[in-house]
Symmetry: C2
Subunit: 133 residues, 2 copies
């Protein structure tokens, strides 16, 4: 666990820290990426999971639209740019050890490339895994 996040964990509600400090201290993986959970701000459904580097994170904060890092294309991925399925950022959080981001978003259309609202359409059962939507 990174020392900086440990050092602030007992501070009271309302304590705050410079954005630039947090952007430096975030616990990026060796490839410079941090995972991102995108949650529908109205239904609270988890819609998708992707990755950002600092450029994608700065782009997201500057524009208010979710911008990820595409690991397959190795390029910034402004979600909605080709599909029209934009994600408007409502709130952005990180966790106690700064190794993941949680974005509440307003989703235009489908989050999933299969045109499903959410990417999480495969559910585990005891012996089988089912497509649930």
């Amino acid at each position: 666990m990174k020392a900086w996040f440990k050092s602030i964990e007992q501070q009271v509600t309302g304590s705050d820290f410079p954005l630039e400090k947090v952007l430096v201290e975030l616990n990026y993986a060796d490839d410079g990426l941090i995972p991102v959970i995108a949650q529908d701000t109205e239904t609270k459904e988890v819609l998708m999971f992707a990755w950002m580097n600092t450029d994608a994170l700065r782009d997201t904060l500057a524009t208010g639209k979710m911008c990820y890092w595409s690991r397959s294309r190795q390029a910034l991925w402004r979600k909605g740019e080709t599909s029209g399925h934009w994600q408007t950022l409502i709130s952005l959080k990180t966790d106690c050890d700064g190794d993941v981001l949680l974005a509440e978003i307003k989703q235009d259309g489908a989050a999933c490339h299969t045109d499903r609202k959410s990417c999480f359409y495969l559910e585990f059962g005891e012996t089988r895994v089912s497509i649930i939507k």
Copy 2:
């Protein structure tokens, strides 16, 4: 994107696949781990983010209690074993490319090691990041 997940994405709702096949096809990272999002089944709040290997995943499915892989301790981490803050598995899903798990859980006590209900207590603002709970 893994070919197997691509091959099933257009199948209809209700289609199902052997659990063992899915456990093999899941898109584990190079270190053999897959990220896991734990969401409160009642409030839909995202409580924490951690990792599993196949042993942890099998343990979770067999016991109905969340078992992660602790990257810091390099050992299975049966959540609640020391804290009493057990997480009972309600449902488990994976996404369109099988590279993340989403668990709906019933949380006993706090999910976070800081004794907060959720690990996501740091919220980004325009120039500052604040402790919100």
